[in-house]
């Protein structure tokens, strides 16, 4: 079946009438982000399934929910009143059967008095036409429409043929038990083996029951037989429960191990991020402390002017000068005191001598006072007028009684002595003179410390910058941020713990199962002993045959499944090698590793010596998944219904680098008879586009370039938006 064309009218960003013709080979629609590639994918999908992919919700939405969003804004805007319809027509040609199928889907809204009346759902019209006739016949029967659609794309093939790039992760989800089984079902009908195995199970159960009943009927002790049979049934129920439990434990263990293994790819990155982050924190803390110390030291610098007496710097001469002045002062003072002392001593000596000649209080002071008042000396009886020498002499005799021996202290009592203050100043200066000598060293040492702290601060700032840059690079390279890295390490440890617990539980359950089986065996022996008659030979034979049939069915199913996995692995490897040809760093062989529960498979990349290559990045994983998807299709080639379907995919290459683009196109054109790929890789990279258009290894169909009608910065207003389509070959 070849998809001949798609005609799009007023569908989303495709305003007006638009048509793409396709041929066999790889058809490529080139457009940058937001240019209408996904809407084109939606157009295909909408016709077939009445749904469009909602990129925000990452799921398909029905037309009945999308409603007017299906119709071009430009188409709605251009009309004032009346009916506006969006329609998409797909024309499929089946050359082998000589049929043409035309599928149309339409959705309308009505504009009335400025209001938009939306249809509840879309309409679907299907025509069938014989290649030899001109006119097509409308298919009315819904069952026939459904059959036609299944002929165009069967449901089990659909996920591997029509998908969005971002769906690749979920199409092949190795975490889901049935992902590979589903893929194997597409590859070969493994369900036939499943059904035969189921028949063998039922036969085994019914025959065992029949045999046991016969044993009971032939029992010599029916009561004991019944009791043993009851025990047997109970043991059997318990055994089944345990077996179910064992499967669940194995599932849990396999999932935990699988998750651990997946995490293992990123664990070293996460560990590295954690370590670098710890280092960053330590540097940050150190820097903060150093900064605080530096700021404190700067503040102290001003205080130290006084606390460490730096203010005295350069005053050494002042002290010497003061010392010398003080010395002079002391000497002068001493001299003055000596002179004064001599004078006082001389005066005292005169007074002593005077006392020897005329003792004190002779004549008595009362007489002297009388003499002064009478202004006459009674000793010599002469006049002694006030102010005269005689008067003064009498007064001197009177004052002499009050006169004491002079001392230097009494002499100085009225004079302020600064000597002590000056000495204190000198002594202070003497004390400070030792500090002054060390001020330079102290200042130098303080500034050395400041410089050291500043240098440390700068080094730490540099280190912090460098480590932050390293973290950012790690975050970009590993697509993990610090929190995610921590979560990942926690998850890894939790999954490991879970796996360990499951192993213990598995061991204990396996022991229980063994015990129950032994019990069953024992009960069977005991039941057999009670049989008094002979069990019919046919029944013994029947039991043997159905048991063998059961074993054979299980073992064959297993073998066939394994061989299909191998085929898938081989095919996937061929595609992977072809896709990664353009990238010298890509290496490894895909290995689908069976997990312990015997149900899940995990892809691994191994080297030529069988060593597992760790740390698969997202690009690798997507490539492996795409290779597996292609393997599912290519492994079917040669069977009746292969290569009849068209691959339609939007941005499948967006996750991996441009190195793989040409390899991908080659592989796709080898695997699929027809494919339609929406890609942005060829939009800006003209060299890549040239290769696409000229590489003889690529079976090329039609190539189109799509661009929006209005510039990117005006795209908020979609009322004028339409899509230009340019054929490049």
């Amino acid at each position: 079946m070849i998809l001949e064309s798609i005609e799009i009218s007023n569908f989303m960003c495709y305003a007006g009438y638009n048509k793409f013709d396709f041929t066999e080979g790889i058809n490529v629609i080139i457009g940058d982000n937001g240019y209408g590639k996904s809407k084109l994918f939606d157009a295909f999908y909408w016709v077939m399934y009445n749904e469009c992919f909602d990129t925000n919700k990452k799921k398909f939405q029905k037309s009945s929910l999308l409603k007017k969003l299906i119709i071009s804004d430009k188409a709605i805007n251009e009309i004032d009143e009346g009916l506006i319809s969006a329609s998409v027509i797909l024309t499929f040609k089946n050359l082998d059967k000589g049929n043409v199928y035309i599928l149309e889907r339409k959705y309308s809204v009505k504009k009335l008095d400025g209001n938009l009346i939306e249809d509840i759902d879309s309409e679907e019209v299907v025509w069938q036409k014989d290649l030899h006739y001109l006119t097509a016949k409308e298919v009315i029967d819904s069952e026939q429409i459904s059959r036609i659609k299944k002929t165009i794309l069967p449901d089990n093939i659909k996920p591997y043929m029509w998908f969005q790039g971002e769906q690749v992760e979920s199409i092949i989800d190795f975490n889901k038990t049935d992902t590979l089984t589903q893929a194997i079902n597409v590859l070969s009908n493994i369900t036939r083996y499943d059904h035969i195995t189921e028949i063998s199970e039922n036969l085994k159960e019914s025959t065992t029951k029949e045999f046991n009943k016969k044993q009971r009927d032939l029992s010599g002790d029916k009561e004991k037989s019944s009791s043993l049979e009851l025990q047997r049934n109970e043991t059997l129920i318990r055994l089944k429960e345990l077996q179910k439990q064992e499967l669940q434990i194995q599932d849990t263990k396999a999932t935990a191990e699988e998750k651990s293994e997946q995490l293992l790819n990123k664990i070293s990155d996460a560990q590295k991020i954690k370590e670098v982050e710890a280092k960053r924190r330590s540097i940050e803390k150190n820097l903060q402390e150093t900064q605080e110390e530096f700021t404190e030291e700067q503040k102290l610098l001003h205080k130290k002017l006084f606390t460490n007496k730096w203010v005295l710097k350069g005053t050494e001469n002042l002290f010497d000068k003061y010392g010398s002045l003080y010395n002079n002062y002391e000497q002068t003072k001493l001299k003055q005191e000596l002179t004064k002392q001599a004078r006082i001593e001389s005066e005292n000596q005169i007074m002593t001598e005077l006392h020897a000649r005329l003792p004190v209080d002779v004549p008595e002071p009362i007489h002297l006072e009388n003499m002064l008042s009478n202004e006459r000396c009674l000793v010599c009886d002469r006049e002694a007028q006030i102010g005269s020498d005689a008067y003064l002499k009498i007064k001197e005799l009177l004052d002499r009684s009050k006169t004491k021996v002079k001392t230097i202290e009494s002499e100085d009592s009225n004079i302020h002595d600064f000597g002590a203050d000056l000495r204190k100043l000198y002594q202070n200066g003497l004390g400070l003179s030792h500090i002054i000598k060390n001020i330079d060293d102290d200042i130098a040492s303080t500034f050395r410390r400041l410089r050291k702290l500043d240098k440390k601060r700068k080094t730490l700032t540099e280190e912090l910058k460098s480590i932050e840059s390293a973290i950012n690079s790690l975050i970009v390279d590993t697509a993990l941020n610090v929190n995610q890295a921590n979560d990942l390490l926690n998850q890894y440890s939790a999954q490991n713990e879970l796996a360990k617990r499951a192993i213990t539980q598995e061991y204990s359950t396996a022991n229980d199962i063994l015990k129950r089986k032994q019990e069953l065996q024992q009960l069977d022996i005991e039941l057999g002993k009670l049989v008094s008659g002979e069990i019919p030979a046919y029944l013994i034979d029947k039991l043997k045959v159905v048991e063998e049939f059961n074993t054979l069915a299980h073992s064959t199913r297993r073998r066939v499944f394994d061989s299909l996995v191998k085929i898938l692995e081989t095919e996937a490897n061929q595609h992977y090698q072809l896709m990664t040809q353009g990238n010298m760093s890509a290496r490894g062989i895909i290995k689908l590793k069976e997990l312990n529960n015997g149900k899940n498979y995990m892809p691994e990349l191994i080297d030529d010596k069988g060593n597992v290559l760790m740390q698969l990045n997202t690009g690798n994983i997507i490539l492996i998944k795409l290779a597996t998807i292609m393997a599912i299709i290519s492994a079917r080639q040669g069977s009746r219904d292969t290569d009849l379907y068209t691959l339609i995919t939007d941005a499948p290459m967006s996750v991996f680098g441009e190195d793989y683009t040409i390899g991908f196109c080659k592989t796709v054109s080898n695997v699929y008879r027809q494919s339609i790929i929406m890609s942005k890789e060829f939009y800006k990279n003209m060299e890549l586009r040239k290769q696409l258009l000229s590489n003889p290894e690529i079976k090329l169909g039609k190539v189109y370039l799509i661009t929006p009608s209005i510039p990117e910065n005006s795209r908020a207003n979609r009322n004028q938006l339409s899509t230009n389509i340019q054929a490049l070959n």
């Binding site: 028949i199 036969l203 034979d541 029947k542 045959v545 054979l552 073998r559």
Partner: protein, 72 residues
């Protein structure tokens, strides 16, 4: 997949050699119509035929039961 291919995929199993139903390599030339008196192979054929004709599993089981219940 034809019924013969399906049958051969079962006959390939080691169990049939171990239990002396077939000799080594015999399955490759085994035809659907190859006469045999092995009950296990007949049971297998019945199950395969039932599968390929989309027969209900209950009917297939009934047919196998009837075949194995023959007293001779």
């Amino acid at each position: 997949m034809t019924k013969e291919e399906l049958l051969r995929s079962f006959l390939e199993d080691e169990l049939l050699i171990d239990k002396n139903y077939l000799k080594k390599g015999e399955f490759e030339k085994y035809k659907w119509a190859t006469p045999n008196n092995q009950k296990l192979i007949e049971v297998l054929k019945t199950a395969i035929e039932g599968q390929l004709s989309n027969e209900s599993p209950l009917i297939t089981e009934k047919k196998i039961n009837q075949f194995l219940n023959k007293q001779t």
